[in-house]
Amino acid sequence: MSDKNTENTAGAGATPPEKDVAAGKRETFKPLTRRSFMKASALGALLIGGTTTAMLPLRKFKSDTSLEDFFQQHYDLLTTERMERILARIEKEVKDRYGVDADVQDPKPIPDVQFAYALNISRCVGCRRCVHACVEENNQSRDPEIQYIRVLEMPEGTLDVEKSNHYYEPDKVPVKGKYYLPVQCQQCDNPACVKACPVGATWKDKDGIVVIDYDWCIGCRYCEAACPYWARRFNFSEPKIPKEQINPEMAYLGNRIRKKGVMEKCTFCLGRTRKGLMPKCAEACPAGARQFGNLLDPDSVIRHILREKRVYVLKEDVGTRPKFYYWFDK
């Protein structure tokens, strides 16, 4: 009965339904009041602001590396036209970041050439002109300061680098009783740094220069630890170079401006030497202590020095076979 009643009531309720529904609809559709508008707009603003803040690192990431950079292949696998696209991308990055019209090239090794360096330590006066010529040529970071060449001030009568000092600041050099031993990358024939690299970002090129692909380097600094000459430098922060001091002639494996978190080192100025020019340090030396040439050419100055002079290499016992020869003639 009661069921019936309820049914009836339900049926009775169902009979006048349009009225109720219309009333319910009227209740849910509230007119736009000031309060509801403020609520909705505050929520919206919060949503948009929150999303933007959350995505900010992504925007930074996007400006830092392009898609092309992200999917770049190893240097050995790059085709010529792909390399051209990469060089154009680097030029654009330099333009965007530093406002300099750079000319980035990728000079290849010259066949039948093995580069070698000879440094006359009886002529070197320790004036550090080479250090700063190198910094200017190779677009090294000025702050924090990165220098490829370290000139060791050594007491006379020893070749032990443990007794050296490379923070010397006298008024005039050379100081009596000292001699000077500039150390930079020795471009070893058996490079320890190349063996240490876990990703193959550094290798010995056909002309004997040990190069680094800065786009491939992961910044683990294993090579820095492996090098017995402390020739490798790490970019702890984004390199800062004044715009007017940037050298616009850049090489892909050489002096193009590095990124934060990659290794760099002396490359015998391969952007210059692979075009036939002398390295910048050899040209800058006021004492004429630095000679550069081709080890395979029997008439070259390097071979003359190896034949005629007293030559030694640094840390011969570690077996790296450097192509950077020190000699003396006094």
Binding site: A118, V125, G126, C127, R128, R129, V131, H132, E145, Q147, R150, V151, L152, V161, E162, K163, S164, N165, H166, Y167, Y168, E169, P170, D171, K172, V173, P174, P228, Y229, W230, T273, G276, L277, M278, P279, A282, E283, C285, P286, A287, G288, Q291, F292, G293, N294, D297, D299, S300, V301, H304, I305, E308, K309, D329
Partner: protein, 203 residues
């Protein structure tokens, strides 16, 4: 008779002119008196020592080093002034020169006695002033051999010594020939000293 008279007057005028010119030239000099007492003869002091023939070998315009700052060739003065082969006697010029080059070296060890624009070889022949390496090679022959191949001194241009385009700087572009020791230089800035204690030379 007339001929002799003419010649006599001409010699007289020449003599007077010579005296005048020498006087006007020396008047500006500090040591006129000493010179006048030394050279009372009718001939000018430089007349005997000047060689007007061009220097053997080719001669380019003189490229003198920056320190000397001469804009004229040596003969322009030394046609008048005799040369004393004594490194201590200097009157007005070359007093700033400090000769500190080996033992028993005087001016005429390197400079030619009669042709002042030239240097001199061991047997008295002339070396053009733009080829000082030939002069220096008289004593420094081992260094000269290294220099010819590029093992001594600065070189510019390309590293391939066999081809063209490289040049070795000549001796006087780096060395002061009167005091050839390499000058002391102020060193440029080195690596910044790290703040925390650091084992020097450990690498």
């Amino acid at each position: 008779m007339r001929q002799s008279l003419l010649s006599k007057t001409s010699t007289k005028t020449v003599y007077a002119f010579k005296m005048l010119s020498s006087a006007s030239c020396f008047a500006c000099l500090f040591a006129f008196a000493s010179f006048a007492s030394d050279h009372k003869e009718t001939t000018l002091p430089g007349r005997n020592v000047v060689d007007y023939t061009p220097v053997q070998g080719y001669l380019q315009p003189l490229k003198l080093r920056r320190e000397t700052l001469f804009e004229y060739t040596c003969n322009e003065c030394h046609r008048v002034f005799d040369t004393v082969d004594d490194k201590k006697t200097r009157i007005a010029e070359h007093v700033d020169l400090k000769l500190n080059h080996g033992k028993d070296v005087g001016c005429l060890s390197c400079h030619h006695k009669t042709n002042r624009n030239a240097y001199v070889t061991n047997d008295g022949r002339e070396i053009p002033s733009n080829r000082p390496e030939e002069l220096c090679s008289r004593c420094h022959n081992m260094t000269y051999r290294d220099w010819t191949i590029g093992a001594h001194g600065r070189t510019t241009g390309v590293w391939n010594r066999a081809g063209t385009g490289w040049r070795a700087l000549v001796c006087t572009e780096c060395h002061n020939p009167h005091s050839p020791q390499f000058p002391y230089l102020a060193p440029m800035s080195g690596p910044g000293i790290p703040k925390r204690p650091f084992r020097m030379g450990a690498h």
